[in-house]
Amino acid sequence: MMTLNLEIWRQKNSQDSGRFATYQLSGITPDMSFLEMLDLLNEQLIKKGEAPVEFDSDCREGICGSCGLVINGQAHGKEMATTTCELYMRHFQDGDTIVIEPWRAKAFPVLRDLCVDRTAFDRIIAAGGYTSAKSGPHPDGNAILISKPVADSAMESATCIGCGACVAACPNASASLFTAAKISQLAVLPQGQVERGRRVFRMVRQMDAEGFGNCTNIGECRAACPKEISIDNIATMKREYAAALLRGDES
């Protein structure tokens, strides 16, 4: 059983300026997940008549991308390739102080406590993160042969869960890794060729319009990414952009 000191960001709503609050929590076991530790804290706060700490989570197995906390200054904590919900308390010691903050980025306004608004990501996808294949009959799946390395490369990029850790970790709050992962996935696949230029133009423009910063090749995004999305995707995005400009693709 561990006892921890928690310093948690409390903010009533997006207008509130916010502040840290300190809590001491005991009864934590190594098999608890980080979010279950927060559940325990909240149960105690509710019984005391205090407002619980609000945070987003859903699947609690690392795939939905809902959860995301800055833990001791690092997005999703210090374990590599791990979402907050997959972080277990066995990685902490009795008596530790843990500082817990929301994602911090201009494009991700805080809604309450540790919940942020990430709808900017949806708008980036809406700008072009798809093939325009309508529902209905299509050629047989095997009519398009895709080599295994190409399929695997598309899959590597496609595993992004849209959690926003890349933005939270980036000193510029850039969404380049998120945006580039989708652009790369569709750029390597034959199905993505038709709209290739238009896609990169529109998605990059939307990313900028949302108020995300620029990429300056620092690489914090890759280190924080729970799905280990490669920073090569950003190089691909830049090449795709340049190539589309050179081709004179419709923007």
């Binding site: 909240n42 699947c59 309450r112 093939t131 529902s135 042969l145 080599s147 899959m155």
Partner: protein, 640 residues
Amino acid sequence: MNLDAKIPSGPLEEKWSKHKGDIKLVNPTNKRKHTVLVVGTGLAGASAAASLAELGYKVQVFCIQDSPRRAHSIAAQGGINAAKNYPNDGDSVYRLFYDTVKGGDFRSREANVYRLAQMSPNIIDQCVAQGVPFAREYSGELANRSFGGTQVSRTFYARGQTGQQLLLGAYQALMRQVDAGKVQVFDRREMLDLVLVDGKARGIICRNLTTGAIERYAGDSVLLATGGYGRVFFLSTNAFNSNATAIWRAHKKGAAFANPCFTQIHPTCIPVSGDHQSKLTLMSESLRNDGRVWVPKDPVDRKKDPSTIPDDKRDYFLERKYPSFGNLVPRDVASRNAKEACDKGLGVGASGLAVYLDFKDAITRDGHKVISDKYGNLFDMYEKITDESPWKVPMRIFPAVHYTMGGLWVDYNLMSNIPGLHVLGEANFSDHGANRLGASALMQGLCDGYFVIPYTLGHYIASTTLSKVDTQHPAFAEAEAGVRASIDRLVATGKKGQKTALEIYRELGHVMWEHVGMARNEKGLKSAVDMIRKLREEFKENLRIPADTDGINKNLEVAGRVEDFLQLGELMAKDALIREESCGGHFREEYQTPEGEALRNDDKFCHVAAWEWKGENQEEVRHVEPLAFENIHLAQRSYK
């Protein structure tokens, strides 16, 4: 209650094409005059919303998450079935149809399942066109693997993240329509009531989960694609926020609830580690392609290091009892056998509630690379949770609640008994009978959304007189007042009580798991009804929740869902009590074969049980839709 399934006449193979030829169409310029409300953005909801918007309808979409991309379909791991027969191993539409009906223990509708099997190849083509990165062979062709309850390889997959990739495909199609101005997304909204005007579904009442505002939305049809109700067991593989509120409140407005007791317990989940646990994690069924399930033959070995137990001291019980299907028996069979082994005192791990799933032979046979390519992410996930590496020691697994075959009753057009209320995906009851085969949930969700509802919704709109209704209609005011009153009631109790919503939720889950879980009997089910009623009283008197209603208050959300689960749980127990037979996932201990397999009673229970809400504190009424098997001979299910 009218439970006409509206199955088209004619031979099974021709029903759907004949139906498509017969149903009415809405012309393109008229489609844009109709608004459709889609609740839920998983595979069924997102694919339906995108497809309807492409056709020209105005679509409004609602999800409880902060983005439609996070719906729980995202967590589906193993794959999606389709009768493509690419491996040339004898698959066909008929075989997929037959396997699904047999897997469901002959408690589903032939016509619905046949349509699903017929559409399955189109789903793969659709997803490939969207750029879903399915696994490929070196030839560049799509790869397949096997799932339980089948003897062919018909499962398409994208590593262990197939649900994620299919959902992102549907989500992207949806966002394309947002960009085109055809779809409006309302995220962080929870549907709390269905609005009926002239007996037709014409709108919904939502709570804005960010601001707490109660909002009204009107349309010409409501589509519920809100998933299953496995969280009634509290611990399940479902996401933390998965809930039954949307379908339950529609049920209270008159929609029949079909086969509520049909619950799927998935055999391969990571065992419970303690009382703090908030959810369970599935280890994909695909692992049973290569993993071997065993327990020690002698109880004295159960605490030993498994690597020191020689082969002749191990009982590979699935391979022994079911030589033709081996480790790939259907989920209900695998779960029951794991429970039986643990009940005999052979279970492993600290709690004794686990069996081994061992990859040693597969790693020796195929090498690290091949196994890593297939299951690498699942092995990582297992290690993160348990701190043990499946490369070194066998996984420990135990059954957990995973899926609910029951749901709102729908006809062949996916419409409930309330005109205009359509129900898609896991939220309906239609295709899986008493047990769903692995990799068939993704198939059904996408079939409903991409290929069925685009036809049948048009038929409803074209054949119905829809008066002009907006949110100022008195029916909206009345529904809104009801929602406000129920929230006020929760908050008023919540200031005084002592138990949190999660505490009561856990207690309900415990009752459900013990008495309405893997094995059920009359005594247990009756006691479950009593215990749930007591819990419901306690919930009314002794709930404690934070009082803030005008901002994010996730405990208030949970409390509302628990209130609904406390009613649904009782209905599940009653449904299980009345169904005096064992079939699929519904195993009544009183009804089993001498070998301990499920014993159906086709004379008395070859039907769908559909329950009608009669009001608070009134007994629900059970109606029956008989099931006719014209193409498949009803047989005792055997996987030996």
